[in-house]
Symmetry: C2
Subunit: 106 residues, 2 copies
């Protein structure tokens, strides 16, 4: 059996990249946003729907969604007077899965 190799960062991490990484994880560092993103994992949702699911006011949800949009974690699609939000890519859920492994594995 081969030795289990590390993920191997191999290279140095410059300040800018460290900040970008931190910013990304920062978007996932709040329970409300985690629940919003999780709710989006099952498909598009509009703001009111999200607000109801996560138990927040629409305003609070809207504020958080803006942040998620800016970090390209969620994207918006306008339809009439509603705005449907969706995950922008699969990375978020992958991060959640990894995170859950750590949390559950204590």
């Amino acid at each position: 059996m081969a030795t289990r190799s590390r993920p191997a960062p191999s290279t140095a991490l410059d300040d800018a990249t460290a900040s970008q990484l931190a910013q990304l994880f920062s978007a996932l560092s709040d329970p409300s946003r985690v629940r919003i993103l999780w709710a989006l994992s099952s498909g598009e949702r509009n703001v009111g729907d999200l607000a109801q699911r996560v138990g927040m006011t629409e305003s609070a949800v809207s504020h958080q969604l803006r942040q998620l949009r800016q970090l390209r974690l969620a994207r918006a699609r306008k339809a009439g007077r509603e705005v449907f939000y969706a995950l922008d890519d699969e990375h978020v859920m992958e991060l959640f899965q990894r995170g859950l492994e750590h949390v559950r594995h204590r």
Copy 2:
């Protein structure tokens, strides 16, 4: 080609788990901690060494290391008057890799 399936959370996310997830990501949401953890990825380091590498005071590093210890992201090994820190498991670097994919992929 088969349809690319989602990571599929499948189940609901209770508040406690959402908070735990958020707490984990919160530990990775600061540039200083990111750099500390990254420095640890190449092996054990003592506090002074870390402080020098990331350009922080030993006190500041020590404060952050406590947090990382409490969240089981880093562990300490005392040797004489030095304390060597190391990553507590591989999950962190896996999360960093995924995070970098997102950051670099825009």
